[in-house]
């Protein structure tokens, strides 16, 4: 009976109206369809709300690595409990009582009708990928796994971890590897964020996991610049945006470099519409200006960086920093006009080795030689490296006028305090790591590290570095490294764990390292630090990897809360891999079905975060204040689900028997400091009580007790405070900076303790390899993005039929996550369908191809035309004319995700497999495409 009036469309009239709109909502209008009620309809709800009581619980959001603190409101009448609302925890100084759309919608992940409610086993005779499963009991599921992995050797297992696992389950995932002798972890944040872009920043600051380790003090900044980064503000990291918004409302100038008018760029005073891939040219031109014109904070630079250290070129033309036999560095002291030495590890260059005050120079007197050889300072050497990257050079590649680059360099260094956001996801080009490195250098040059209105180290990182520093000063060894080590040493530890064959009785490192060795020996491109990366995995599955003469196969997968089929590149890789005959068992543990669980043999259902008392006590994310927090469950698990800790113990029993379980307890004790004897005792108690997940419950108690002891509270009181407030604060940012600002009060966790322009990290890698690619430069080295070729600068317009490909995150979906299926988020995405699922293209290009908004188009990777994807066009001036843009979160294929399936297009259909030689970081925008109407 629904008559519809002729609808107004943009085309019917409105001559002269300047505003336009995406047509989605208007085209399918939602109006009341009049009808008489059915009997069901007349059964108005029997609401008991007034009789129900509201209870509050505190938890940690699960939908990105901002780890915002959340307050859960549950209504209960004793019998039924229903979570009705999530809020930001008002006691949290991290997210200041706010939560983004994903955080707000979290309860609908728990109540999602598509959830995996019981273990599932793939139907006999079906193929992986068909998503044909039958329900099973946990016993059946475990039996199935045991049966199908009987002949799988430990190194033939690969665990794949999503980012929730990296953040929350380190304590269980790494010991799991050790106890079961499984050297292989593919951790999804690595090749996307942590090792790619972040390692660049880390090489300067010594941190490791930047987006969890630095929270800039946007509140007090007067100039904020974002480069190739929508994730911090627009795609929403609540902890960051609450501060950035404060800064903006106080009058900060915001400058955003982005080829697209992203959500962040929309808040900018200046949207710098840069050509994609050329950001490094921009930052180096900025460095060039700031260094050559002396705009930098001289005091800070000479004191806390290795810019004044003396450096020379060796016989092969490689930069070598000068060190004596004890590793001490040399500087040219202005006071005595002579070369002096400073300690190998220190936070400042104020004193010579014999305790005299000195003022190191950044520029040496003309013709200074040491031992008959010319020397320079790192400052001079660095400037030499980039002096050809002038604003004029950069103008040609970035398409930004040289005058603007010059002006921005001046403003950035003169409007104080200023922040360049460190960046979030890297993984776009060969040179992203170098880009983030130069961003850290720029922030260092203006003295904005651990300073008001600058970058602030996360309290948790600072705390770890501080305790390590104190231990080191006392000459003590640090116990329980997973819990206590921070920054680069943590990274190094992780690298060592999986790359060093001596760590495993079977003597095999991860296949990633075996593969790297194999490639190197064969003279083929190889990756230096394939930390928890997928490089070599496909080859291992196919039986093409050998280690010390033996075949190194991969036969079984344990994929925990990860969705590589959807967010690794390309989708066919993982589909083919998981479907390979050599793979005898794929176990997926997850909350919802996903494109990856479709390829499982066994799906184990995990409880959602709102149903969980977290088995660990954690730091307060990237908060500048030091605090502890955890999760309290609001309701008991609704379905037949279990916790990761318990599943991992069971899996250990299957893979390595009782001995493995014992080793697991011990390994957790050693690495994470959670007492094995206590844990075993509590496990027995919980099992006797009938607790469904006794290991999770036991470790919860152990962790709670440990944390209480650490802060000097009784376990009861500590838990009480956590229960009432959700966070337990120990020290504020101000107090921490006063005590342990780094580098001001203590060394940063780099090799030398100073902020490093000459990178100790890359020096080490260089030392371990024969790689001389510019990625490994010990100083910041310029090289192009690689889109047009590894050595080709982007100083020309693309051809008529060629486009750059760019993608980014939408504010409503966590990258690679299944929360595109969340009913509330999905409804919002439908409301914004044209913009979120459209392929953005500029009208000047679209018109030439006769493409209008809504037309189906196909974009094809010009490097490999088998990689292509279809989608609807969204014609807009908001994207740079040489580029197209897609939001990355959509295009799920698994129909079991009823709302996400078929909505939008998947970017990993058009992106091929290309990795950088340092860490196998994805080079996911490093190609051009053609666009056609379908």
């Amino acid at each position: 009976m629904a008559w519809s009036f002729p609808k107004l469309t943009r085309r019917t009239f409105i001559k002269g109206a300047a505003a336009t709109t995406a047509m989605g909502a208007l085209a399918t209008s939602k109006i009341a369809s009049a009808h008489l009620p059915s009997w069901d309809d007349l059964m108005f709800a029997d609401s008991k709300r007034k009789e129900m009581k509201e209870k509050l619980d505190y938890t940690i959001c699960n939908f990105c690595s901002s780890l915002c603190n959340i307050e859960i409101r549950t209504l209960t009448d004793g019998e039924t409990s229903r979570i009705v609302k999530l809020e930001g925890n008002p006691h949290s100084t991290l997210n200041r009582g706010r939560a983004c759309a994903r955080g707000q919608s979290g309860l609908f992940q728990t109540y999602d009708t598509d959830r995996i409610k019981t273990p599932m086993i793939r139907v006999e005779g079906s193929k992986r990928g068909e998503m044909a499963f039958r329900k099973a009991s946990w016993e059946e599921a475990y039996e199935y796994i045991a049966k199908n992995t009987k002949d799988v050797k430990p190194w033939e297992w690969t665990t794949v971890g999503g980012w929730t696992n990296c953040v929350f389950y380190m304590n269980w995932a790494v010991p799991f590897s050790m106890a079961n002798q499984i050297p292989n972890i593919v951790a999804s944040p690595m090749q996307h964020c942590v090792t790619t872009g972040h390692l660049g920043t880390d090489s300067v600051t010594g941190n490791f996991n930047i987006h969890d380790e630095i929270l800039p003090d946007f509140d007090n900044a007067r100039y904020i610049m974002y480069i190739a980064n929508n994730g911090s503000m627009g795609a929403v990291s609540t902890a960051r945006v609450v501060r950035a918004a404060e800064g903006i409302q106080r009058g900060a100038k915001v400058v955003v470099l982005d080829p697209r008018l992203s959500e962040t760029a929309a808040k900018a005073d200046e949207w710098v519409r840069i050509r994609p891939g050329t950001d490094l040219d921009f930052t180096m031109a900025l460095m060039n200006e700031i260094m050559s014109k002396d705009y930098y904070d001289k005091d800070f630079c000479i004191k806390h960086t290795n810019l004044p250290f003396l450096i020379e070129k060796d016989a092969e033309g490689e930069w070598q920093i000068l060190r004596d036999a004890n590793g001490n560095f040399s500087v040219y002291d202005e006071v005595t006009a002579s070369v002096q030495q400073v300690k190998a590890h220190d936070n400042a260059n104020e004193l010579s080795l014999d305790g005299k005050r000195l003022i190191p120079s950044l520029r040496l007197p003309e013709g200074l030689e040491l031992n008959g050889k010319p020397v320079q300072t790192v400052f001079e050497a660095q400037l030499d490296e980039i002096k050809h990257i002038t604003p004029e050079f950069a103008a040609k590649t970035t398409t930004i006028p040289a005058e603007d680059i010059v002006r921005i360099a001046y403003e950035y260094s003169h409007i104080k305090p200023a922040i360049i956001d460190p960046g979030w996801m890297g993984a776009r080009y060969n040179n992203v790591q170098m880009l983030r490195r130069t961003q850290a250098m720029l922030q260092t040059l203006i003295g904005g590290i651990d300073s008001k209105g600058g970058w602030i180290n996360a309290a948790e990182v600072r705390h770890k570095v501080h305790t390590t520093h104190e231990a080191r000063q006392k000459g003590e060894q640090q116990m329980h490294p997973l819990a206590t080590v921070g920054g680069m040493p943590f990274a190094e530890m992780v690298v060592d764990v999986f790359s060093n064959p001596k760590n495993f009785k079977h003597g095999k490192p991860a296949w990633a390292y075996a593969f790297a060795e194999q490639q190197k020996a064969a003279g083929k491109p190889w990756v230096s630090l394939p930390v928890m990366a997928d490089t070599g995995l496909f080859e291992s599955v196919r039986g093409e990897v050998e280690y010390k003469g033996e075949q190194y196969l991969t036969k079984a997968f344990f994929i925990n809360g990860a969705n590589p089929v959807h967010h690794y590149f390309p989708d066919s890789y993982w589909k083919d891999m998981l479907n390979h005959d050599n793979v005898s068992c794929v176990v997926c543990m997850d909350v919802l079905p996903s494109d990856t669980t479709a390829y499982a043999d066994v799906i184990l259902p995990n409880s959602t975060y709102l149903e969980r008392d977290e088995p660990g006590i954690y730091g307060n994310g990237v908060n500048q204040d030091l605090g502890l927090t955890t999760r309290f469950k609001a309701i008991d698990p609704i379905y037949d689900t279990h916790e990761v800790a318990d599943v991992m113990f069971k899996m250990t029993e299957i893979i390595s028997g009782k001995a493995g379980v014992e080793a697991y307890y011990q390994s957790i004790d050693e690495l994470a400091g959670l007492s094995a004897s206590k844990a075993k005792k509590y496990v027995a108690e919980e099992t006797a009580k009938g607790t469904p997940d006794p290991h999770a419950a036991a470790y919860r108690r152990v962790s709670m007790e440990n944390a209480a002891e650490e802060v000097g509270e009784t376990a009861e009181n500590f838990e009480k405070i956590l229960r009432e407030k959700g966070v337990y604060y120990i020290k504020t940012m101000e107090e921490l900076l006063e005590e342990a600002a780094m580098p001001q009060k203590m060394p940063v966790p780099t090799k030398s303790g100073r902020l490093e322009f000459y990178s100790g990290l890359f020096e080490m890698i260089r030392g371990n390899s024969t790689t001389r690619a510019p990625n490994f430069g010990v100083l910041a080295t310029h090289f192009p993005s690689g889109i047009l070729g590894e050595k080709v600068n982007q100083d020309r317009m693309l051809g008529e039929g060629e486009f750059y490909f760019t993608y980014g995150k939408s504010p409503t979906v966590s990258h690679g996550s299944t929360n595109a299926n969340n009913p509330v988020l999905s409804a919002i995405n439908v409301f914004k369908e044209d913009i979120y699922t459209g392929i953005w293209i500029n009208p000047t290009r679209a018109d030439k191809l006769d493409i209008k908004t809504g037309d189906m188009i196909k974009i094809t990777n010009l490097e490999d035309e088998s990689l292509n994807v279809d989608g609807k066009a969204y014609v807009t001036n908001q994207v740079q004319p040489e580029s197209v843009f897609m939001y990355s979160s959509f295009g799920t294929e698994n129909a079991a995700l009823s709302r996400a399936a078929g909505f939008g297009s998947a970017i990993n259909k058009v992106i091929g497999y290309k990795v950088d030689p340092v860490v196998a970081g994805f080079r996911s925008q490093e190609f051009t495409i053609k666009v056609e109407k379908v």
Partner: protein, 309 residues
């Protein structure tokens, strides 16, 4: 700025506006004509047919309205509206329809012989007695309520401030004129087709009045035409939706107004023979136009906002 219309008040409401205004005026005129013994004639048959037809029209219209509601069980609250919300037109309109229908029926009942199978019904006897005793009251009550009903629909549409097409004094005038015009057309059809009494003077009077009304309506529509054309963008949008649509332009304006006007004018000036066929054609066109008018008035209402729907 964005411009968009509404779809909540769809054809169901358009039908109600049409039947409501028309049915009410049919009852008013029928009753009046009978009560005043216009032209010295009996007019009872016409009154009975008129009032019953009007009653049916109002019933169907009200049923449309009822059906259109979102929460049918809550409808009784509207009856208290005149006490709680005397500023709401619908509150008054609800009662005016109810009273108009009941009083009109009560006025009519005494003139309808009781069918044998209802001989037992005391209630019927009571109403017949009541309607006889208080015929005058019933008559004037019906007329007042019915006229109110015809007028209030226009007042209601006028009370929505955002829509330039509606928020002006022309709408109540237009709706009242149209309601009366369509009512006369209905009555003419009844006279020629059903009642067929010897009331030629009445018929001519109806035709004359209707001619005046249609002529007025053409002027009012012309007023709207220019008012919207020179109006704000909101008005211009409505203008486009109306005059850019052949159904409005040709279905309503030409076929529903101009043609009947010319036919009627011809008939009342005796340039055209006054025969049943022409009258019925003209009346039918007027009725068709009356519906299209209401339908398009609802369709073409435009909101102007800095954001889309």
């Amino acid at each position: 700025m964005f411009y968009f219309g509404q779809e909540q008040w769809n054809w169901l409401v358009a039908v109600y506006l049409f039947l409501g205004g028309m049915g009410a005026m049919v009852m008013a005129i029928s009753t009046l004509v009978h009560r005043l013994k216009v032209f010295g004639q009996d007019n009872t048959l016409l009154m009975i047919w008129g009032n019953l037809t009007g009653f049916v029209m109002l019933s169907v219209g009200s049923a449309m309205l009822f059906y259109h509601l979102l929460d049918h069980l809550a409808v009784w609250h509207v009856l208290l509206g005149v006490f709680n919300k005397p500023d709401a037109w619908i509150a008054w309109g609800t009662w005016s329809i109810i009273f108009g229908m009941i009083w009109g029926l009560v006025y009519t009942l005494p003139h309808i012989p009781t069918p044998k199978f209802l001989g037992w019904c005391q209630l019927l006897k009571f109403f017949k007695w009541f309607g006889t005793k208080y015929a005058g009251l019933m008559a004037w009550g019906t007329v007042f309520m019915s006229v109110f009903t015809a007028v209030y629909t226009g007042m209601l549409l006028q009370s929505f401030p955002a829509v330039e097409l509606w928020h002006n004094p022309g709408i109540p005038v237009l709706f009242t004129v149209s309601a009366t015009s369509t009512a006369l057309a209905s009555l003419l059809i009844l006279q020629y087709v059903v009642v067929r009494a010897d009331d030629h003077e009445l018929r001519h009077r109806f035709e004359l009045i209707d001619t005046w009304l249609i002529g007025s309506e053409i002027i009012i529509i012309a007023g709207f035409f220019f008012y919207l054309l020179n109006g704000t963008l909101n008005g211009q949008a409505s203008h486009e939706l109306l005059w850019g649509d052949p159904i409005w332009t040709y279905g309503f304006f030409v076929a529903g107004l101009i043609v009947p006007f010319l036919i009627n004018l011809g008939m009342v000036t005796h340039k055209l023979p006054s025969n049943g066929f022409l009258v019925i054609v003209s009346a039918t066109l007027i009725l068709m136009g009356g519906y299209i008018l209401r339908h398009y008035m609802l369709l073409a209402g435009i909101w102007e906002l800095p954001y889309p729907k």
